[in-house]
């Protein structure tokens, strides 16, 4: 699964640590998602979409 979290982060100018704090997870989790090593749960995907102010399918794609 591909994702555009890094791009969205750059748009919003927030660091991995800040995004992790906002999403209530560790920085390692955000890093693993960005690298495609971990596919987040539905609730985390929805939380990330809410933080970026977009739809889940705008951030994640198959």
């Amino acid at each position: 699964m591909k994702n555009h979290i890094k791009v969205e982060r750059a748009k919003k100018n927030i660091t991995q640590a800040k995004l992790a704090e906002l999403a209530g997870v560790s920085r390692q989790t955000i890093n693993a998602i960005e690298l495609g090593k971990y596919v987040p749960s539905t609730s985390l995907a929805l939380t990330l979409a809410k933080i970026f102010g977009c739809k889940v399918e705008d951030i994640f794609e198959i």
Partner: protein, 164 residues
């Protein structure tokens, strides 16, 4: 995300202390596993003798299903501490517990299961007689020890990856 119930973080340190103490005892005196032993160098069999219930006792050719017997319980205490210690290490929370660490925990658990099976299979063909009993005693804790090691390794790898 729903995850398994874990112990508070300080249990990890308690577990490490317990396991270190027990491993020290096992290395110092391997006979500790089978009783008639000592703790920290002083013979204390007499102090640790207690009446305990035992299942399947054979006495003078007669079998008993449950019978109270007198036994040196120092080895039972050490094995209990070792098991508790390994459980504490394996199932205590880490600093940042979330769904990713939960997945790493599950991956480590399945890998530990595989490696433990391989080690027990090898032990079956490489150790005989009395030594095989030691291998089986090791088998009591090996899963939890391997799991703790693999989980710690995975966490460390992830931390290094996030740092770079």
């Amino acid at each position: 995300m729903k995850t398994i119930k874990l112990l508070p973080r300080p249990f990890r340190i308690v577990g490490l202390i317990l396991v270190s103490f027990c491993i020290f005892q096992f290395v110092r005196d391997p006979e500790v596993v089978f009783g008639e032993t000592s703790i920290l160098g002083s013979k204390i069999e007499s102090n640790w003798k207690a009446k305990v219930p035992s299942l399947f006792v054979e006495e003078k050719g007669e079998f008993f299903f449950i019978k109270m017997i007198e036994n040196d319980i120092s080895n039972e205490i050490l094995l209990t501490l070792m098991l508790l210690g390994t459980y504490f290490i394996a199932f205590a929370k880490i600093k940042e517990e979330d769904e990713f660490s939960y997945q790493l925990r599950m991956e480590a658990m399945s890998q530990a299961h595989l490696w433990n099976g391989i080690l027990l299979l090898l032990a079956n063909w490489l150790f005989y007689d009395g030594i095989f009993l030691y291998a089986m005693i090791w088998g009591l804790f090996s899963f939890l020890l391997i799991f703790s090691f693999v989980f710690a390794l995975k966490l460390s790898n992830q931390r290094n990856l996030a740092e770079s």
